[in-house]
């Protein structure tokens, strides 16, 4: 499999479409324990990022991902904007000037990206945030890459881990972000940011995994 710049652009484009589809569901999740805008924020940001990538073709995967990060930073606002901004800028940093992405480089990039989110947001595992989806995803990918798994399979495992992590936020009491103002009242609802993170990783697995057959 060869994941190059066009495949990265595909990922962002298909993520934008998926986020537009899921806009209302994410808004509703956020309305339960936040301010109801997470779907709108994400859809706006990714649509802008996809448009920017379509307009100016970047040279490397990292350049594409940096453009996404900068676009999210300047279009999303709220908590998710700087966090997903850090995430994509972290991915770009992890990939350096590589022309192609494989399981090992992507695993390293993902680990670096998640570290960037944690550095920025200071959330720990179990705080009921996107970190609860991203951290297990990065760990699963790292293990799979270490075991020499195929990239497609590794991505699928990573996406599944993110989904499990997102679902596991439901019973938690939020300790970071807007949901934390609710205290105990935040328990019983799935975190919207963890949900959108799992969605992004699922799209990556689907988009890039197909190439891997």
């Amino acid at each position: 499999m060869a994941i190059g710049t066009p495949e990265v652009v595909d990922w962002v484009r298909l993520s934008a479409a998926a986020l537009e589809d899921e806009r209302d569901r994410l808004n509703r999740l956020d309305a339960d324990i936040g301010d109801g805008d997470h779907g709108a924020n994400m859809a706006r940001g990714f649509t802008a990022a996809a448009e920017r990538l379509a307009a100016a073709a970047p040279e490397t995967p990292a350049a594409a991902l940096r453009t996404v990060g900068m676009t999210l930073l300047s279009t999303v606002g709220g908590a998710a904007g700087p966090l997903y901004g850090s995430f994509f800028i972290g991915l770009a940093g992890g990939l350096g000037d590589a022309a192609e992405v494989d399981a090992a480089t992507w695993s390293a990039a993902l680990t670096q990206a998640v570290a960037g989110v944690v550095r920025r947001g200071k959330a720990e595992l179990g705080d009921k945030t996107m970190v609860d989806a991203l951290t297990p995803a990065a760990e699963t990918l790292e293990a799979a890459a270490g075991n020499g798994a195929a990239f497609g399979a590794a991505l699928a495992g990573s996406a599944a881990a993110a989904e499990t992590g997102a679902e596991a936020t439901t019973p938690l009491v939020a300790r970071k972000g807007r949901a934390s103002y609710l205290g105990e009242r935040s328990a019983g609802h799935q975190d919207p940011g963890a949900t959108s993170s799992a969605l992004l990783l699922r799209i990556a697995a689907e988009t890039w995994g197909a190439r891997d057959e």
Binding site: D37, L73, V76, P82, G85, R120, R175, G177, Y181
Partner: protein, 333 residues
């Protein structure tokens, strides 16, 4: 949804165009990225004071731009923090070389976007100090959580820090003062009705005709508790009790009392609230040396109020009294 708007997506932009038209000469409104500065910014040699946050809290922050208060305000979408590129551009526009104070309300989005902007600004050679305001006693404080929200103290910090900057005090000093104001101020709010975010179109929360929400945030975030409607005097006691206990405020203290409307509450009701605040503080021998009654930090058309107390000392009182000339707050000029 009944609003005097055209397109829900254009609310912030069109309101900014209105601000630009109404206050040309006093304010400069910049679009894409959106921010408002004093018309005469940067003011040579002066520390610049900048704040910002989601729109829908007017006059906060744009209405407080002008001599003696903010040099710049950075409005996000309604109830959504502005983005780092906006904050960066505004920071650069008002920096005279003496540095820029960022006054940030404690919401994760605001904190993260301002942090990112500050890093970028510092990388561009601007001296930035950021102070986070977190005065809302309705939220339990803890180092393990996002902590308390920033509400009414923001207005007071903007005024007082603006006066200090105007007086020529250096950045570190103005930042310390800002932290001092935040440390000495406590607030709590309540809502009788919900607000409606324009691009959502339905009320953020539903309250029964006989219910109210105590400890509400300024974005329609749920509060401490939902209880049956009560007379104004009882509501004041519900808000003032936690405020007084928290600092705590004690007999002999001198305070500034802000009775703030949430946007949809008429002034006549705010004075009924102020009456009870004055009575209760009088009973506790706490002297209200300064006050402010009106709509200063709002939540769109939400009906309700918040109360903020700031413990005064001679320095704070003097800075409060210093001239200020903004659309939303003006005296001595």
């Amino acid at each position: 949804m009944k609003k005097l708007i055209n397109d829900p997506e254009a609310v912030v932009r069109e309101a900014l165009e209105g601000v630009a038209a109404a206050h040309a000469g006093r304010l400069a409104v910049h679009f894409d990225p959106n921010y408002i500065t004093r018309a005469d910014a940067p003011v040579s040699g002066k520390v610049a004071v900048l704040s910002g946050g989601g729109s829908g809290h007017e006059p906060l922050h744009g209405g407080f731009v002008g001599p003696g208060m903010l040099d710049a305000a950075v409005p996000g979408a309604v109830f959504t923090s502005p983005t780092p590129d906006q904050v960066l551009a505004a920071t650069q526009a008002v920096d005279s070389g003496a540095g820029v104070l960022h006054i940030v309300k404690n919401y994760t989005g605001d904190v993260l976007n301002f942090e990112t902007a500050a890093e970028l600004a510092v990388a561009e050679g601007v001296d930035v100090a950021a102070v986070v305001i977190d005065d809302d006693v309705a939220v339990k404080d803890s180092t393990y959580t996002a902590g308390r929200r920033g509400v009414g103290a923001t207005v007071l910090a903007e005024k007082i820090c603006g006066a200090a900057a105007e007086a020529g005090r250096p950045l570190a000093d103005v930042a310390t003062l800002c932290r001092h104001v935040n440390g000495q101020a406590r607030s709590m709010g309540m809502a009788l009705t919900s607000c409606i975010v324009p691009h959502v179109g339905t009320p953020t929360f539903e309250l029964g005709e006989d219910e109210m929400e105590i400890g509400i945030g300024i974005h329609g975030e749920p509060g401490r508790e939902r209880v049956k409607l009560e007379p104004a005097d009882a509501i004041v006691e519900r808000l003032l009790g936690p405020i007084l206990d928290d600092l705590p405020f004690r007999s002999g203290d001198r305070v500034l009392a802000l009775v703030n409307g949430m946007g949809g509450t008429p002034l006549i009701e705010l004075y009924i609230v102020y009456r009870r605040v004055a009575q209760l503080l009088g009973e506790r021998s706490i002297a209200i040396e300064r006050n402010l009654v009106g709509n200063y930090i709002t939540s769109l058309e939400m009906a309700g109020c918040s109360i903020t107390l700031l413990k005064l000392d001679d320095e704070l009182t003097q800075l409060w009294d210093a001239p200020v000339n903004t659309p939303g707050l003006r005296w001595g000029a």
